[in-house]
């Protein structure tokens, strides 16, 4: 029984983890049709923000929850103004541009901080005991934050004027533009927002993962596959994709070991896209966000 409870938490954490690393990518891809290959580096920048800030005496919570999204969000806006805005409607060219960006960001961080940076960040929440098993309280915290983040993005899109305009732009940019919406501004805000969410995710993961300039590469493929499997809608897609793939990965990792966990995740994505060529939300929950 204890083991089952611990396992359930572990699976939930796996799902939340996947959703967390994918959400920012889903926002940028879903709203703007830009495939951001520098997504992994945005996560890395979030992590680096936390490491550098805490090394300079900033409180860990402030670094994770405020500085990381702020710094990466600003970087996102700068990148959008300097690079991405020239490439709207050229989805494939954004592949090349963001690939270049990803190399550039790794290069800049390595040049400034060296190949690795010492850190003193450790997990800020204690252990929760379940009989003979113990799980990290921080895992539960991350599950909660992920749910909160999904809720917040939902609220912004559904309840605010900005969200309405953004959804309108996403559905028909020309019409939105004709109605007096500055689509360029909307794109800038969306990209910044996506980057900020990614930065927050990177910051939140900093206490439980290694933070190195090259660490982004370990996330990008998984995030990308989750987003596409989820389909076009940002929230329902990310949630559905993470639940399905996260569960498959967790269960197979537990049963057979991590390699086949990874392979099972990838196979599930293929079968899913074959059955639903437009992702989960291309078939179900089509009206959702």
């Amino acid at each position: 029984m204890d083991q089952v409870a611990a396992l359930v938490i572990q699976l939930a954490y796996g799902v939340a983890n996947l959703a967390l690393i994918s959400l920012g990518l889903a926002i940028i891809f879903g709203m703007m049709r830009v495939i951001n290959l520098a997504h992994g580096e945005f996560l890395m920048l979030g992590g680096y923000t936390v490491v550098v800030a805490t090394n300079n005496g900033v409180n860990l919570w402030i670094a994770m929850l405020i500085l990381a999204p702020l710094v990466v969000g600003v970087i996102g806006v700068v990148v959008e103004r300097l690079l991405i805005r020239w490439l709207y409607g050229r989805m494939v060219d954004t592949l090349l541009a963001t690939w270049g960006l990803s190399l550039l960001l790794i290069g800049i961080v390595t040049s400034i901080f060296g190949a690795s940076t010492a850190t003193t960040v450790s997990v800020p929440i204690g252990v929760i005991r379940i009989g003979e098993y113990s799980v990290s309280g921080y895992d539960l915290f991350l599950i909660g934050v992920t749910l909160g983040l999904l809720g917040a993005v939902y609220a912004v899109l559904k309840l605010t004027k900005l969200g309405l305009v953004a959804r309108g732009t996403m559905q028909n940019a020309e019409m939105a533009s004709a109605l007096g919406v500055s689509t360029s501004r909307i794109y800038m805000i969306t990209f910044g927002l996506g980057a900020a969410v990614t930065g927050l995710a990177g910051g939140l993961l900093a206490p439980v993962t290694g933070v190195l300039p090259t660490i982004g590469a370990t996330y990008i493929a998984k995030a990308f596959i989750t987003v596409i499997s989820g389909g076009a809608s940002i929230l329902a897609g990310t949630a559905a994709g993470s639940v399905l793939l996260g569960l498959v990965n967790g269960i197979f990792s537990f049963l057979t070991g991590p390699t086949f966990g990874e392979v099972a995740l990838l196979l599930a994505a293929i079968v899913l896209l074959r059955l639903m060529p437009r992702g989960i939300t291309g078939r179900f929950f089509r009206k959702s966000l």
């Binding site: 690795s116 450790s122 003979e132 098993y133 190195l212 990792s253 991590p258 990874e262």
Partner: protein
């Protein structure tokens, strides 16, 4: 037919290269020392400090007047964590630069990719990295530590200290697989029991399911051969689940990427590792070395570990052999190295073992205290006993093989 690929290609290229070779390796002018390491990409946490110490070694050699009156020229290539570039630069170093020696490679994959090139072009090759053992190559000197030197010492030490039931986690590639086999063997030899062995692809960052399995298995200790940046997450998540206070960890890979600084002091506290070098090694050579390094690179210099210090010592071993031979000529230098050549460096005395072209070296067991290693026990002059089981270059010098490609079967070890 007795015409093997190697002899054929070697013979053929010897003809093709005969003329330029004699012109290129003229005795006047600079001696060429080529280094191929990963200064960028995922392996740069290992490669970047190795490049710094290699530069320092060549500067030291030249500051002392060069070798036999000739200056040593360092040519650096950045393989960018890419095997294909290793082969390219190896070819360029051997056939283009006509290097007198090449010190190259971090992963075993890179070493195996370039070793044939150096054999083909008769270029003296040094591999200064800790690895799984088993290379038997007359032209190739492997100065890093091997499992019989480190695993054999640390396993009994921690079993005495913590208990007999062991859980092994390792990186899922040849180094991890073979090291895990050695670990299982030494656990068994010391009367212990291996409760589980688990392998992780190099890009896994979520270790939750495994940590639970470890909780379920209830071992006395965990031994890790995890490698690379992503695997640092294991130690963090292990601590987050409160496990570091319950089941201690020993490792033969924790520290060469300076992992102790990538996790917080509380998370790493008490972790035990074994290598042929730690910064805490207490001898005057090491003290002076570290002081000069700090003067060179500033107080933010990378922490030294076996890989970076052995890169320095490997270059110095070669330099001593060139001096002893009186020439940088390959055959003479190999003979001098196998005489055998010794060098007293920061890690202590390192001596070439002529049977295997590996190094007899000191091994230290150390414990992490506040992001630094403190030495618990030292063992001097440890031979590369694993490779000695399968390789005898004295009896059969004409060899060029990696014998543990198949695992430990080659050594007659069954698990």
């Amino acid at each position: 037919m007795k015409l093997t690929r190697r002899s054929f290609v070697a013979g053929a290229s010897a003809i093709a290269l005969a003329a330029p070779a004699t012109i290129g390796r003229a005795q006047d002018g600079k001696i060429k020392f080529v280094s191929i390491l990963d200064q960028s990409g995922g392996l740069d946490i290992y490669g970047a400090p190795m490049v710094e110490t290699t530069k320092m070694a060549i500067d030291d050699i030249n500051a002392a007047g060069g070798l036999n009156g000739r200056e040593v020229e360092l040519i650096l290539y950045d393989a960018q964590s890419n095997i294909q570039l290793y082969t390219q630069y190896a070819t360029q170093a051997a056939a283009g630069d006509r290097a007198d020696t090449v010190h190259a490679g971090i992963t075993s994959a890179s070493r195996e990719a370039i070793r044939p090139t150096f054999a083909r072009f008769n270029t003296l090759y040094f591999y200064n990295t800790q690895y799984e053992g088993g290379v038997c190559d007359f032209n190739n000197f492997n100065t890093g530590s091997t499992p019989a030197q480190t695993v054999a010492k640390v396993v009994p030490y921690v079993m005495n200290k913590w208990g007999k039931k062991v859980y092994i986690v390792a990186a899922d590639y040849n180094y991890g697989q073979i090291t895990a086999q050695w670990m299982q063997k030494f656990v068994k030899d010391n009367g212990g029991e291996t409760l589980g062995v688990e392998f992780f692809p190099l890009d896994v960052t979520n270790f939750g399911p495994t940590i639970q399995k470890i909780q379920g298995a209830k071992p006395d200790l965990v031994i890790s051969a995890l490698v690379g940046g992503a695997h640092v997450s294991f130690y963090k998540q292990y601590a987050a689940a409160g496990m570091n206070k319950e089941i201690p960890i020993a490792s033969t890979t924790f520290g060469v990427g300076n992992e102790q600084t990538l996790i917080s002091p509380e998370e790493g506290e008490g972790l035990i590792a074994a290598y042929s070098y730690f910064e805490a090694v207490d001898n005057p050579v090491n003290k002076a070395f570290l002081e000069r390094l700090t003067a060179r690179l500033g107080p933010g210099r990378p922490t030294m570990n076996e890989l970076s210090v052995r890169s320095y010592e490997g270059a110095m071993l070669w330099a001593e052999a060139v001096k002893a031979a009186g020439t940088a000529d390959r055959a003479a230098v190999i003979e001098a190295l196998r005489a055998p050549q010794s060098y007293t460096g920061p890690s202590g005395v390192v001596t070439i073992d002529p049977q295997t072209n590996h190094a007899v070296q000191n091994v230290y067991i150390a414990e992490v205290k506040n992001q630094k290693f403190e030495i618990l026990e030292s063992f001097s002059d440890q031979p590369p006993a694993d490779t000695q089981l399968v390789c005898d270059l004295n009896a059969n010098p004409n060899q060029n093989t990696f014998l543990f490609e198949n695992g430990l079967e080659a050594a007659g070890i069954k698990l």
